[in-house]
Symmetry: C2
Subunit: 357 residues, 2 copies
């Protein structure tokens, strides 16, 4: 089968959803995409593992990267796709429709169609986004071919309900520990209860009021939460250790060092071990190219809270936004489904901006 990039975005979505491509098994879909884009002489095509890059070289003043991942989480009886209607609204139902093959389909169609966009475009379709970061096709490409990421702006087609979600919060995890002295619970006064010692940790987290921080035109709401707590040895032992895992989601104006300092200050007096951290991504929505994009697609800009691959662009100094069809709350859901109208809206928005119409 040759993927027909002159078909509607809906038909392309169905076609690429019905080619299963769970993370680690994207080979066939990558082959189909490569073959389809190589048929278009205005695109230079580069293959890197199961990641396909296709780009125009028109000598435009500005270059934009537009990217999407081609893998999905595991299928659970929800392939092949079906068209369904709920209270009169039409959807394409099935694994990958939201996260994020509808977005990829729109990109594929426009890659083929737009032979003379007003900016040069580097399209990227990559593998292994849904699994550990070390396998991420975009990350591997950035490590090997950083020059491909030189751009003025980047758009990731992650589901955003057809709205523009800019940047993303950073994330930091830490273990907060209290220590005590083990004893038999029949003689509890001989010991010191580490779980009781964690009371002020939970109280500070419960009282904590997260701020909303304005960054380049968007307000980023933060959060500091316990995501796990463990303590206890046996039903008759006073515990000598309690561990609270906290997750701090911080605005992209803050560095990892600043985030760590904030967590240590909130939990001052306790043993804090930072276990994991990733920078956020600035949305860059105050740049002229971003303003032009927003005006052309006619979408409202919102902050993105969850960490996405836009942070990889931000780390390379490229402002990046998420813009794609589908409700992110339905990503990974067994009832994953994308409204047909959003596919059309995003296609129209991207075309309007890229063609200067």
């Amino acid at each position: 089968m040759l993927l027909d990039l002159s078909a509607s975005s809906l038909d392309i979505t169905r076609a690429i959803c019905d080619i299963p491509s769970v993370s680690g098994a994207e080979g066939r879909l990558a082959d189909e995409i490569e073959e389809a884009v190589r048929a278009h002489p205005h695109l230079e095509v580069i293959r890197h593992g199961n990641t396909i890059v296709a780009r125009t070289n028109l000598g435009r003043a500005q270059r934009v990267v537009i990217a999407g991942h081609i893998d999905t989480v595991p299928i659970n009886g929800n392939v092949p796709t079906r068209r369904i209607a709920i209270e009169g609204e039409e959807f394409l139902w099935g694994r990958g429709t939201v996260d994020m093959k509808a977005g990829v389909a729109v990109q594929l169609r426009l890659a083929a169609e737009l032979t003379a966009p007003i900016v040069d475009i580097t399209w990227m379709w990559y593998d292994n986004e849904e699994v550990e970061a070390s396998k991420n096709g975009l990350g591997l490409l950035a490590a090997d071919r950083p020059e491909l990421f030189q751009a003025d702006f980047a758009i990731l087609g992650e589901p955003s309900n057809g709205q523009v979600e800019g940047g993303c919060n950073g994330t930091l995890r830490a273990i907060v520990r209290t220590r005590g002295v083990r004893a038999h619970s029949a003689r509890s006064w001989v010991g010191e209860n580490a779980i009781h010692g964690a009371a002020p940790i939970l109280a500070r987290l419960a009282e904590y009021r997260a701020r909303e921080i304005p960054v380049e035109g968007l307000g980023y709401r933060e959060g500091l939460n316990a995501v796990r707590i463990t303590g206890g040895v046996a039903g008759n032992v006073i515990p000598d250790l309690c561990e609270v895992e906290v997750n701090y989601r911080f605005a992209p104006s803050r560095s990892i060092a600043g985030a760590e300092a904030h967590v240590r200050s909130v939990l001052a007096g306790f043993e804090v071990e930072i276990t994991d951290a990733a920078d956020g991504a600035r949305p860059g929505l105050d740049a002229p190219i971003a303003q032009q994009f927003l005006a052309a697609v006619g979408a409202e800009a919102r902050p993105k809270y969850g960490w996405t691959d836009v942070a990889r662009f931000s780390a390379l100094g490229v402002p990046a936004v998420n813009y794609g069809p589908g409700d992110p709350h339905l990503a990974h859901h067994d009832e994953e489904r994308v409204p047909l109208a959003q596919i059309e809206d995003v296609e129209r928005g991207l075309r309007a901006w890229l063609s200067g119409a």
Copy 2:
């Protein structure tokens, strides 16, 4: 080998420690004990599984049960026994020396020796004390032969450093739960954090001041403690459930229903599920027979905090105390060891009381 009950209590202790009898494998030791006590015509011997009962039938006005378990926790390179000295103090070292074969050895020697005690005596040596309650030889005997437990007083030879420890606290376990609403931690305000919700539970436990309650001549110190806490789904999810397991050790003057009401009152406003409870045991040290016992052995009476099988006697209306050689803190310890002087003290104390000397 015939167990020689005319040997010293120390030698009997060594002999029965060197016959391994980890819970579930007491058969050989029970055989040796049965054979040895059957050689003494003043004793009526009853075998029930691996539990041996030997009793006098002298028509005395009062009857006393004196009991000890013959099983140990698993051996860990600490059998056979060794005699050691630490800073001039002599010990018998090895598994079972403290918990509780030195106590059993003293009982075996006196069972053989005391042909005409001033009270009738029912000696009980039972299996499976160190494992689940359903296997406990004393409990099984009480269920099948309750008439054997008719007595005015009971002594359990559990290690008590040669002092008399009366009764025991009761114990109750409960799970205290907080519930919330799960959400992605990047949008924590959409959810409700169940771990944060547990802050007041830990605060109340940390602030709780346990009372000491006088019961029949002894003061029982209570305790209310978290012994385990769990909560959390994943590192990026606001948790919807947190569970705190609490253990309340309560004075024997309190019923299980009263203990439950107390825990529910301390943790009012939270979901509390009682998972396990056992009554304590009243020491009965205000009874004349108990006063005579204390005077004769010359030991100081203290409250017992940990739950022991004395509660089985208390439940049958028989006041019961722990009285045996060895430091209970060394029970189950790989360096388990009993001071020789305590073996002799307990032998002398029991003989003095039982012979009316």
